[in-house]
């Protein structure tokens, strides 16, 4: 088992390395970068001192060097102007647009992104699993039809539209401002109890909006999976043993139907990050989604590359979690490892 985990960790590191190269190449594909664009702009306005500063930055970050050297400096295996200083050393680079280190710009946004998305994932499972179980065991009843209908509506309504509607009515009916993740007055305050409470209150709507599509999809798939498993002979065996219906359902068919969802955890996290960009914009949530969009548009290369690396790491960690969970859940996979 430990051998398997070690092997996986080594593969993960190699995968991450490959992804970093890919990310960097793609970001460098369009001609120019943030600074050259900026210099052109500044030249047009004749601001000589700013031009000099920008040129200094170019030299400092080696943007005048070949791409492969820039890449090696970025990941920290080749000395730049400040010696070895890259991802491996924990230096995430400089955001030219904000004129601050990337770490400072991204800062809380990383953890808030994780928080919102994990809340959404938990919400999806908490709602979808009972709904799917109800729907599968009460097949072709009114309840099943209602769950199915709500599911389709959830699938069909775009998240940002729902966000807009909620934003409007929350303000109109309750006088609430649900934008942001905490009260705007608290934005630059240190983390206090009051700020945490405000955060929790503001989490409700984003969770609902981001999780809705996923919930609807999961109900549909889980219901179909469960219906397949309910028809299997081992379910009949469990009933013939005298198990109460719910206990029999949870112990056998439900557990069998979990596998595809566990296998999906790896895909879920990055999907939620990229899928929630629009919603984050509408609800002005301080997540990395909008930051990534901006960074890509303005060719703020270190910023964009870092966020993409963050999403890639999330994916890999998610896959590791899902694989380990599968090994733990399913003896057939466990035995296959031996």
């Amino acid at each position: 088992m430990i051998g398997v985990v070690l092997r996986r960790l080594v593969t993960m590191a190699l995968t991450l390395l490959a992804i970093s190269a890919l990310v960097f190449v793609i970001i460098k594909l369009p001609p120019g970068d943030y600074l050259t664009n900026r210099i052109m702009e500044l030249r047009a306005t004749g601001d000589a001192s700013s031009v000099a500063k920008a040129e200094l930055l170019i030299r400092q970050y080696g943007l005048d060097r070949p791409v492969w050297q820039q890449y090696l400096m970025w990941i920290g295996v080749m000395p730049g102007a400040a010696g070895f200083s890259g991802l491996l050393q924990g230096d995430w680079g400089w955001s030219f647009e904000y004129d601050k280190p990337v770490a400072e710009v991204v800062g809380d946004a990383l953890w808030l992104t994780l928080l919102i998305n994990l809340t959404a994932v938990v919400f999806v499972h908490l709602v979808a699993i009972p709904a799917a179980i109800y729907s599968a065991t009460h097949r072709h009843t009114v309840g099943d039809a209602v769950v199915t209908l709500l599911g389709y509506v959830g699938l069909a309504v775009p998240g940002f539209l729902l966000a807009l509607i909620l934003l409007f009515y929350a303000n109109r009916w309750f006088g609430l401002s649900i934008g942001g993740l905490y009260d705007s007055a608290l934005t630059n305050q240190p983390w206090t109890w009051e700020k945490v409470r405000s955060l929790l209150a503001h989490l409700v709507v984003p969770t609902l909006v981001i999780g809705l599509g996923g919930t609807a999809a999961m109900i549909r798939r889980m219901r179909a999976n469960l219906l397949d498993e309910l028809a299997k002979p081992y379910t009949v065996t469990a009933r013939a043993k005298g198990l109460p219906p719910l206990q029999a359902l949870l112990k056998y068919p439900f557990r069998m139907s979990l596998n595809p969802f566990v296998a999906d955890i790896g895909n879920l996290l990055p999907h939620l990050v990229s899928g929630s960009v629009l919603v984050s914009l509408v609800l002005s949530l301080p997540t990395v989604g909008p930051l990534l969009l901006d960074a890509l548009r303005s060719q703020d290369q270190f910023m964009a590359a870092f966020i993409l690396m963050f999403v890639a790491s999330l994916t890999l960690v998610g896959m590791l979690i899902s694989d380990l969970t599968l090994v733990w859940l399913d003896p057939r996979i466990r035995m296959g490892l031996r």
């Binding site: 002979p233 065996t237 005298g242 198990l243 056998y252 057939r332 035995m335 296959g336």
Partner: protein
């Protein structure tokens, strides 16, 4: 003797798209205490529905519309038909007083839970036993059903066990609370004959020990003759005959049981005797076509060997090699049938796949004579290979899985002809002829496979194999997935087609009675090797090898005069190191085949062969 369970006027109806369908109409029968009642009938006769009604585990679309199911446990009498299906009273009976075992021991056990967990579960829910107590009792139960190492078995998963052990685990699960009634729904149908005999012996022994009654649902009259005390025959949801076994089977009063008895292959059949199907099927067998006789055999398998490498999870470990087929040689003459017999895992399917060129042998040759002299099948390429593909066709075991549900019968039958370039007009003509040949209405050509029954689907499978005008058909367990009532039809059809079209058959089966009915020569395989080969009559007259004898001894005969010798079938008959003296093989020893009479060859151990020389 008092009856433990009395069913009176039981009626069960299913809701279907075409309106209600009554599966049981007024069934009445009694299960006596401490005895085994065999419920016999073909599929669709309502046997399984009866079992499900007794346990109240009918599918949601079925309801008990009338009648009583009186269960007299101890002094109390309960009408099971009146209890709420999921209520506490019914649940207390299920698993505790009435338990059930099923046909498919793999799919009836959850692959995600240890068998210790699944067996002990009934104990925990009914008696509130804690995990440790349940484990101790489970271990006892596993020992009682013959698990070699019950302690270790507690923590094994079903997929780590053989089919026989899985069924033993199911039995342990059903019997752990010592129920008054065991309902066994085709408990041995999915098992090899030797395993089947062992399971039947086990059921008989456990009944003696605990005094439980058994309701045994089966279509196999051989099984009935060997372990039932009483017999009830169902036909289309009605009881047509019931009584003590000897009365019912010696003087079957009802025509239906007589027909059932005549429809199954038996060992004591006269050489030219034909099976009599319950419902005669009309097939238009084409006039006999003569083929130019070959000088030599049609197919020759010479010393073929195949091993598989199992990937090991730890990369520093050496991968495990499994020898599926070791040095197998076979000869099949034109117009004859070669039977390949063995238990699951003996390598017989691997051999048939190599003949089909679906697998490449590691060594050895497979020679096929298409009229132009024998050629090595695995050396063929291009046009010669294409022609070979046409000449050798396959009939699959499972008629449900082997026909594409999205193709009409016409498309299914036309496809091989399209591939081999038959013009469209001729294809249409031949499709109709093929349907008539296998006894189906040409009107069925436009329908999809789901519109046909299992036996009809197998006919379509045969028609598809014949569409390309082959010379050799490989039949892999062609009737084992079919109901007894249609087995006879299919076997007779295959015989008639063989005679008319000059076909050669390679038939692979674990059912010796089927092989006996069909084959001219028989090869018995065990652990990848042929242990005995002989003309049909010689093999059954004078079986030499201990493995062949074990296989023969394990086949339950429907005649009451040939009861199974349960003592003889116990133990590992497929372990070469435990065969008796002249045949015993040391591990990894190949032994030698020796001719004991014309065409009859048996594998002897090397030590013995040296002594004789």
């Amino acid at each position: 003797m008092s009856s433990l369970l009395s069913i009176r006027d039981l009626a069960v109806a299913f809701r279907t798209e075409t309106g209600p369908f009554e599966a049981l109409h007024g069934l009445s029968l009694d299960v006596l205490r401490g005895r085994t009642l065999a419920l016999v009938g073909e599929s669709g006769s309502g046997k399984s529905v009866t079992a499900q009604a007794i346990l109240r585990i009918l599918p949601p679309s079925a309801t008990i519309t009338n009648g009583r199911i009186l269960f007299r446990d101890g002094t109390s009498e309960t009408d099971i038909a009146r209890l709420p299906a999921e209520g506490p009273a019914m649940r207390a009976i299920r698993g505790q007083r009435i338990a059930m075992i099923f046909q498919e021991p793999m799919t009836c056990l959850s692959p995600l839970h240890t068998i210790g967990d699944q067996i002990g579960e009934a104990l925990r829910i009914h008696t509130g036993a804690d995990r440790r107590e349940a484990d101790a009792r489970t271990q006892e139960a596993l020992a009682r059903v013959g698990f070699p190492d019950p302690r270790r078995a507690l923590r094994t998963y079903p997929f780590e066990l053989s089919g026989g052990l899985r069924q033993r685990a199911m039995i342990a699960m059903a019997l752990i609370l010592k129920p008054a009634l065991l309902v066994a729904d085709e408990p041995t149908t999915a098992l090899d004959v030797t395993t089947q005999a062992q399971i039947l012996a086990l059921l008989a022994r456990l009944q003696e020990e605990t005094g439980m009654a058994i309701l045994l649902i089966t279509h196999d009259l051989g099984v009935v003759a060997n372990i039932a005390h009483d017999v009830a025959v169902l036909y289309r949801g009605r009881l047509v005959e019931a009584g003590p076994r000897d009365t019912v089977m010696r003087v079957p009063g009802h025509a239906y049981l007589q027909a059932l008895l005549r429809a199954v292959p038996r060992f004591d059949m006269a050489p030219d005797e034909r099976l009599t199907p319950i419902r005669p099927a009309r097939a238009e067998i084409p006039p006999t076509q003569l083929r130019a006789p070959l000088d030599g055999p049609l197919l020759q398998v010479e010393g073929v060997t195949k091993s598989f490498t199992l990937r090991s999870g730890r990369f520093w470990q050496k991968p495990r090699v499994v020898h599926a087929v070791s040095d197998v040689s076979l000869v099949l003459k034109t117009g004859e049938t070669l039977g390949l017999v063995g238990e699951s895992g003996s390598g017989k399917t691997t051999v048939s796949k190599m003949i089909m060129r679906a697998l490449q042998p590691d060594s050895g040759r497979i020679l096929f004579d298409d009229g132009g002299g024998p050629r090595d099948v695995h050396g063929l390429s291009g046009d010669a290979l294409f022609a070979y593909r046409r000449t050798v066709q396959f009939v699959f075991q499972d008629p449900y899985a082997s026909l594409d549900p999205r193709m009409t019968v016409r498309q299914i039958l036309s496809e091989p002809m399209e591939i081999h370039g038959v013009p469209a007009a001729e294809r249409r003509e031949r499709c109709r002829a093929l349907m008539a040949m296998v006894g189906l209405e040409p009107g069925g050509l436009g329908r999809y496979p789901h519109a046909f029954s299992g036996g009809q689907r197998q006919r379509i499978g045969i028609a598809r194999a014949l569409a390309a005008k082959p010379r050799l058909l490989v039949l892999d367990e062609p009737v084992s997935a079919l109901d007894v009532s249609v087995q006879a039809q299919i076997l007779n059809l295959l015989k008639d087609l063989q005679a008319a079209l000059g076909l050669s058959y390679l038939i692979v089966s674990h059912n010796l009675a089927v092989i006996d009915y069909m084959a001219d020569t028989i090869s018995v395989m065990c652990r990848g090797r042929i242990v005995e080969e002989a003309p049909r009559a010689a093999l059954f007259r004078r079986p030499m090898h201990p493995y062949t004898r074990a296989l023969l001894a394990a086949v339950p005969d429907p005649s009451l005069d040939h009861p199974l010798d349960f003592a003889a079938v116990a133990g590992d008959r497929n372990d070469p190191s435990r065969w008796e003296a002249p045949y015993r093989l040391a591990p990894d020893e190949a032994g030698t085949m020796r001719t004991i009479e014309a065409g009859h060859r048996v594998r002897y151990g090397a030590a013995q062969a040296a002594e004789a020389a």
